[in-house]
């Protein structure tokens, strides 16, 4: 069976240990976590967790069922399965910015609608937001200039509403 990427949107009780339970479930059963993002929701008793994983259909089914089996897990949605969705990730990229390439970096930023959020005599910090493909494109373009450091948030995702009534 073919492996596919899967983005899960998980609502979980905001209790101590809830995240450890989820992380432990993945390590204990040999599932992969590509990225993981956690934050509070409007309801302070629930946390929202976006988790990107991989597997064939049977493994993804197991992952979802195993997550639902945890007492602290309120809701699990496979965002990638249920139609259209928006996916975003942010990265901060500290790139070497010497005289000869400062212009080029700014042009790339303009094209990709990135922001330069910190400037030093020899570096820029570029803030880029988008889906994984866009981030990868920016990273690939900046790499030849010399990336000194990179920090990524991991993916967050949301289902799109139906466009017609």
């Amino acid at each position: 069976m073919a492996e596919r990427k899967c983005t899960l949107s998980v609502l979980v009780e905001n209790t101590p240990g809830a995240l450890a339970r989820i992380a432990g479930l993945f390590s204990g059963r040999g599932f992969n976590i590509d990225s993981l993002c956690v934050a509070e929701t409007l309801d302070p008793t629930l946390s929202h967790l976006t988790l990107v994983t991989r597997g064939d259909d049977q493994i993804i089914e197991q992952i979802i069922k195993q997550l639902r089996r945890l007492i602290d897990v309120y809701k699990v949605v496979d965002v990638t399965e249920e139609g259209d969705y928006v996916e975003r990730e942010m990265a901060l990229i500290k790139v070497r910015a010497e005289k000869e390439n400062r212009e080029e970096i700014m042009r790339i930023c303009e094209i990709f609608r990135c922001k330069i959020v910190d400037v030093s005599p020899k570096t820029y910090v570029v803030e880029v937001t988008g889906d994984q493909n866009k981030l990868q494109a920016v990273i690939d373009l900046l790499k030849p200039m010399g990336i000194k450091e990179i920090v990524r948030t991991g993916t967050i995702a949301m289902k799109r509403e139906k466009k017609t009534a």
Partner: protein, 567 residues
């Protein structure tokens, strides 16, 4: 407004509200306040074990034999870590226990305090759920939730970690009558459409097999299993955990399947066209090589835990629901359609003929030897003499498999065995729990000379409680199951399986004040069993058996279940 009391008092009150009459435990610094409350309390009997592992197994044995939640109480640090094997054992077999562990005061948590350990961290992967109580206000609700979670849905162990300052703090005791957890809603009622699909498969089947597992026992579905099996004329096979879920002496019983299952059960499953599996999880010891397991069958799988379905084998009709309720619904459909009994008799006549051929070809058997005691002979005699009515706890290994094969368990909750985790040293403390829960019944631990030594200290517990448990040690001087594998698959390289030095089990029993007896000849078996069965005290019968007797049939690990090594 609830009554104001200490956390320690709340714990005792909560136990009473949950109807707990017996707990198994071992005191220590971090639970001394709870023990102080127990001292002042009537109606909760505390069994003082000799090692905390024994407390967890005893609570487990109590739960398995009674269907009620078993409770263990231990101190922090080593007290908690000693229960880990017991908790994991209960987790693998879905047994409802609540383990209360003491913890260092909240302000010391994380400081590497004396007898501190991260109990919730350690037990997270082996509990259904666990709690660290940080505030006295949370205590009543958490205790209620612990019992509720342990016994509902797919049952399992729950750990409640109780810091000492929370036990000493005062608060209002408002114990909820009911509890609702928004993130925990087990599904009991099956989907009717799926039940109908299951029926349609059965009606068209030519070679069906009814496979039952531990879920039948825990949901109390044995009456429904019997009714359905008899009505539809289905051959029934059981997993180790399912033994007792259908009468082992019934002519439709094929006995256990899997690695040490009967030839005819494994052949029937391998050749069936519809497999109705209820409350079983298709463990590797049951399936053997998965792609060769029931290769021709459409599989109907009923289980309360959705994760069990489609985990190991591909299922055609998945049904998430309580085993008992699901079988009740299935029976309703059976009755509604109303095919007469004759329909099913005729329909599966050829299939039964085939099964009987298999049954006659290789019945469960062993070679009787007049000079040396065969372990199977001991179990057979025990079965005859107890009429299959005793509660049998087992240790793990050959003793466990011989008991499973030759004791034809008739009723649910009469086999107390560690199926999933395979915990040596489980049987004896579990027997203590079972005897505490069933004071009127005969409780027997079938042991090996290896396993019994893993929790032999509990003899003192049994004596202190005056429990008339009968321990039958099938003593071959070996770690027999490992020896058997070495014999069969490692060219008889017997690496570290010889128990050359052993205590004199008779004298050891006597040292504890129990009755001990040793037998070495087949003709001694019956009189010795008669003697211990009549005695009203802890008995240890040391049975010297044929040292290299094996458990057969055997499916080598990773092979198809039809590739059995027969006697």
């Amino acid at each position: 407004m609830g009554k104001v009391m200490t956390g320690a008092r709340m714990i005792v009150e909560a136990l009473k509200r949950e109807g707990v009459e017996v707990i198994f435990g071992y005191p220590g610094g971090a639970v001394i306040d709870i023990y102080d409350e127990l001292y002042k309390t009537e109606g909760i009997h505390h069994v003082l074990v000799r090692h905390e592992q024994g407390a967890a197994h005893a609570a487990d044995g109590f739960a398995r034999s009674t269907g009620r939640v078993g409770v263990a109480l231990v101190t922090s640090g080593p007290g908690a870590t000693n229960t880990v094997t017991g908790i994991a054992t209960a987790y693998m077999d879905s047994i409802p226990i609540v383990v209360l562990t003491g913890q260092v005061p909240t302000k010391l948590i994380g400081n590497d305090a004396f007898q501190e350990v991260d109990t919730t961290g350690i037990t997270r992967p082996i509990t259904k759920h666990n709690f660290l109580v940080k505030k006295i206000e949370d205590l009543p609700r958490i205790l209620k939730a612990a019992f509720y979670i342990a016994k509902t849905g797919r049952p399992g162990p729950v750990v409640v970690d109780l810091p000492k300052d929370v036990q000493q703090a005062k608060g209002e005791f408002d114990y909820p009558e009911e509890i609702h957890l928004r993130s925990y809603n087990p599904v009991y009622e099956p989907h009717m459409r799926q039940i109908e699909r299951a029926y349609q498969l059965l009606e068209k089947a030519e070679r069906p097999v009814f496979l039952i597992g531990g879920g039948v026992i825990s949901s109390g579905a044995a009456p429904e299993v019997l009714e359905l099996a008899e009505r539809l004329n289905l051959p029934v096979t059981m997993t180790l955990m399912g033994l007792g879920g259908f009468p082992g002496d019934h002519h439709q019983s094929l006995g256990m399947l899997g690695m040490h299952g009967t030839y005819y059960a494994n052949m029937a499953v391998a050749n069936c066209d519809v497999l109705l599996a209820v409350g079983a999880r298709f463990d590797d010891r049951v399936t053997g090589r998965v792609d060769a397991f029931a290769p021709m069958a459409k599989i109907i799988h009923i289980d309360i835990d959705p994760t069990s379905i489609q985990k190991n084998v591909k299922v055609d009709v998945p049904i998430v629901g309580d085993c008992k309720r699901s079988l009740q619904r299935l029976l309703e459909v059976v009755k509604e359609v109303g095919q007469p009994k004759k329909y099913w008799q005729e329909r599966f006549k050829d299939w039964w003929e085939q099964i009987e051929i298999w049954r006659k070809r290789y019945p469960l058997s062993y070679k009787y030897d007049p000079n040396v005691i065969k372990p199977q002979f001991v179990i057979e005699k025990l079965y005859e003499m107890t009429k299959g009515e005793a509660i049998i706890a087992t240790e793990v290994g050959q003793n466990q498999m011989w008991a499973a094969q030759f004791y034809k368990f008739k009723k649910p909750r009469t086999l107390i065995t560690s199926g999933g985790l395979g915990t040596m040293g489980f049987g004896f403390p579990a027997a203590i729990g079972a005897q505490m829960g069933n004071p009127e019944k005969l409780v027997i631990d079938i042991a090996g000379d290896g396993s019994i030594q893993m929790n032999i200290q509990e003899m003192a517990t049994a004596m202190q409680e005056r429990l008339p448990i009968k321990v039958i040690i099938l003593n071959n001087g070996y770690l027999g199951m490992v020896r058997q594998w070495q014999e069969l698959f490692y060219e008889r390289r017997y690496s570290q399986v010889s128990m050359a030095v052993q205590p004199d089990f008779v004298k050891l029993a006597e040292a504890y004040g129990a009755f001990g007896m040793r037998i070495t000849k087949p003709e001694e078996v019956e009189p010795a069993l008669k003697k211990i069965l009549e005695m009203n005290t802890l008995c240890v019968l040391d049975v010297i058996i044929a040292p290299e007797e094996g458990v057969f049939p055997m499916v080598p690990a990773g092979k198809a279940t039809t590739e059995m090594i027969l006697v």
